[in-house]
């Protein structure tokens, strides 16, 4: 397999094309985490299958490929050896029709929801609860089916795809920053950063330090805002309305600060290929720091009040637990994985130059894998983001006179593959783009952290009360649109 780094490109012709047998063996023997496993149509109706694996300890990415001719329609699945491949193989089968043989559960990912027969348990005491695609609240659509024994959930099946908008195809016809921002509207900065980095790599542009730092600050502001909102949502789901109100109001302060920076509460329009559109002026930075100081005080006070309350703790503790082994096996990523003790954080695993320059270090977290852990981890990450923002803002004052925007030709390098991983608040957002011989995009692959983590939610609710499902769901707060694309 070919070894590369994050935020780099390679010539597609350098990527080895292995026999499927060797391809499988190599993936299994390396045993790294899959972050990309996708097909691309090739000449004579053949399909080239790419595998992108992450060695998180070394900060390396491995890439290889194999080819299926038009009449080769199956291969021996990888899921049985490495379960984390389960969702990737389902997606590949759905998109290209090459069947992974002996896959334990080859159900649809994004299409044909109505044709799928749900897993069913039978027995006198078993009953089903079906919810969705339209849910009770103002949220995105998805269908959940619970197999219950009385109040207890045996098994939850999740069916998604209702949000499918054909993003990967649109990215080839009309790629734009605006489209990247609308893939997953709660992770605008993460998605637009990943997309812009991909385009900059393919255009051979290096953006200024100032633009890099503004993007980085915005990413942490996004993390802070959503995490605070989620603390409020968790509080709301256990009917602790004081928490819902206070966190709701403090989140408003953070996103309104974002609006003052760039005109949008979620940071739309801030980032563009080549840099950023709006400056973080000194006056605005100082104002923002004052606001954040108040935000952090409010959050600290409320979190500590909540954690001291026994009625709160009885709802959070040991609810929706997922063990570290299970989280690893299912291939969970990001915050949900960290709350279960799997230390994955691409900010630290694939660091940019700022992480060492600003002396930002990984914080230890006592992971218990339950809702309580996901609640507390959010709180810790809010504090960490705040300390990062202070450092980034200070650094921004040092590189005052740099350009916000670096222009480049719109020509993309030919026959290239570029990869960019950005740690959004949910976890790693992976963008991979390929170009053809004319420098046009020929494949654009996106992986949201939710793509890995939805199955984690299904595992977490087993043997919990069905009434605790909303709480478990909020504690993960996964994306439908990022998954459905």
């Amino acid at each position: 397999m070919l070894k590369i780094k994050n935020n780099t490109k390679i010539n597609i012709n350098e990527i080895p094309i292995l026999q499927i047998k060797d391809f499988r063996e190599e993936i299994i023997s390396l045993n790294f985490r899959p972050i990309g496993f996708f097909g691309k149509s090739s000449e004579n109706d053949s399909v080239r299958l790419f595998a992108v694996l992450a060695d998180d300890k070394a900060g390396d990415i491995y890439i290889s490929s194999t080819k299926f001719s038009a009449d080769e329609k199956s291969y021996e699945c990888l899921t049985k050896e490495i379960p984390a491949f389960h969702i990737f193989e389902r997606e590949f089968y759905e998109q290209f029709g090459v069947e992974p043989l002996n896959h334990p559960w080859l159900k649809p990912v994004r299409i044909n929801q109505d044709k799928y027969e749900f897993f069913e348990m039978t027995g006198e005491e078993v009953h089903q609860v079906a919810v969705g695609p339209i849910h009770a609240g103002v949220i995105e659509p998805g269908h959940f089916r619970f197999m219950c024994n009385g109040e207890t959930v045996y098994h939850l099946e999740i069916m998604l795809g209702y949000q499918h908008r054909g993003i990967e195809e649109l990215m080839l016809i009309s790629p734009s920053n605006q489209l990247a921002e609308s893939i997953c509207g709660d992770s605008v900065i993460a998605y637009n950063t990943a997309y812009s980095q991909i385009m900059e790599i393919l255009q051979d542009v290096t953006i200024s330090d100032r633009a890099q730092l503004i993007r980085k600050a915005a990413l942490e502001m996004e993390r802070m805002a959503i995490h605070i909102g989620d603390l409020g949502a968790i509080a709301g789901d256990i009917a602790y309305l004081m928490g819902a109100s206070v966190f709701g109001a403090t989140r408003t302060l953070v996103i309104n600060t974002m609006l003052e920076f760039c005109g949008s509460r979620f940071g739309r329009g801030l980032i563009c290929t080549g840099g950023v559109n709006y400056d973080f002026t000194e006056e605005k930075l100082n104002q923002a720091l004052k606001t954040f100081e108040k935000v952090i005080k409010d959050v600290e006070r409320m979190v500590n009040t909540m954690l001291k309350s026994s009625t709160v703790m009885s709802r959070l503790e040991k609810t929706g637990t997922i063990s570290m082994e299970r989280a690893k096996e299912a291939g969970l990523v990001g915050m949900a994985a960290r709350a279960a003790g799997v230390e994955l954080d691409s900010r630290f695993d694939f660091p940019d130059k700022w992480m060492s320059e600003l002396k930002i270090e990984k914080k230890k977290f006592k992971a218990t894998g339950d809702v309580n852990a996901r609640f507390k981890l959010r709180y810790k990450e809010i504090l960490q983001s705040y300390s990062m923002i202070k450092k980034i803002f200070a650094k921004l004052q040092e590189c005052k006179n740099q350009d916000l925007f670096t222009s480049a030709s719109n020509n993309l390098s030919q026959n290239s593959l570029a990869i960019s991983i950005v740690e959004g608040w949910r976890g790693e957002v992976v963008h991979i783009a390929m170009t053809d011989g004319n420098g046009n995009l020929s494949r654009y692959k996106i992986k949201d952290p939710s793509f890995n983590n939805w199955y984690g939610l299904a595992l977490a609710v087993r043997n919990n009360g069905v009434s605790d499902f909303p709480l478990c769901n909020k504690s993960f707060n996964l994306s439908y649109s990022g998954n459905d694309l």
């Binding site: 695609p133 995105e140 949000q163 908008r165 920053n177 109100s245 739309r268």
Partner: protein, 243 residues
């Protein structure tokens, strides 16, 4: 207990007192102010920008600001009362101005005011929305915007609703559920399209996985532009419509 009280006292009053006359910071990109002149319309990612005469269709616009940065004839002001009952009125030219727009864009019907003026319960349907509009609609009910004080609420069941609010470009996969939900709402009912995606398909208008037939079958009562729709835009749009 004491801590809870302390938090409560520390928070004070959070709600925006006068929603109708609230203002948004100048940086906000809202109502377009246009001077007749040249502009390269190909820079617009959604085709909202047209020339001869120069116009911006707020039903398509994502308010990304590309045009105002590239062209001196366009400025996106912080005017946030963007809603209209007429799709065509969303197209803004050099002849439009914010004050006239806010006074004339929403046609007030007596029957609507009489039926929904004091209480309007809405069922929101996300038909492939990116979660941007959904987050802002949730924010409408938080302690800052507190939409509930006007008798406007989101409800869980379409049976309890007076209308539906649609976000997202209407994906093929949501066609069945959306129509089902609409049919479950008792008459009289209204349909509100919220955000550029719902109104025109927005940035996704060229996608092959959409199915927007619903909008041909059923009448739309209110268009609320934005990407995403700001809570003040939403609440003021509804208030003007039902009062």
């Amino acid at each position: 207990m004491l801590d809870t009280l302390k938090s409560r006292i520390f928070q004070g009053k959070q709600y925006i007192k006068d929603i109708r006359n609230a203002s948004i910071k100048e940086e906000f990109r809202g109502f377009p102010v246009i001077k007749e002149g040249e502009c390269d319309s190909s820079i617009c990612p959604t085709g909202a920008l047209k020339t001869n005469p120069l116009s911006i269709d707020m039903g398509k616009c994502t308010f990304c600001g590309v045009c105002e940065r590239a062209c001196e004839n366009i400025k996106l002001s912080n005017g946030f009362k963007l809603s209209s009952t007429d799709r065509n009125k969303l197209i803004i030219t050099s002849e439009s101005d914010y004050e006239t727009y806010t006074k004339s864009a929403i046609e007030i019907k007596e029957s609507i005011v009489k039926t929904f003026g004091h209480s309007l319960k809405l069922r929101q349907v996300s038909a492939a929305g990116c979660n941007g509009c959904e987050m802002e609609l949730n924010a409408c009910s938080n302690v800052n915007f507190d939409m509930g004080r006007f008798g406007i609420d989101f409800v869980a069941s379409p049976r309890h609703a007076d209308g539906i609010v649609i976000t997202g470009p209407l994906s093929e996969n949501m066609t069945f559920a959306l129509e089902n939900c609409y049919n479950a709402v008792p008459n009289p009912k209204i349909v509100i399209l919220c955000g550029a995606c719902a109104i025109s398909g927005g940035i996704f208008q060229n996608s092959e996985t959409l199915n927007r037939e619903f909008l041909e079958k059923y009448p739309v009562d209110l268009y609320i532009p934005g990407c995403p729709v700001h809570p003040l835009t939403f609440i003021n749009g509804i208030l003007s419509y039902i009062h």
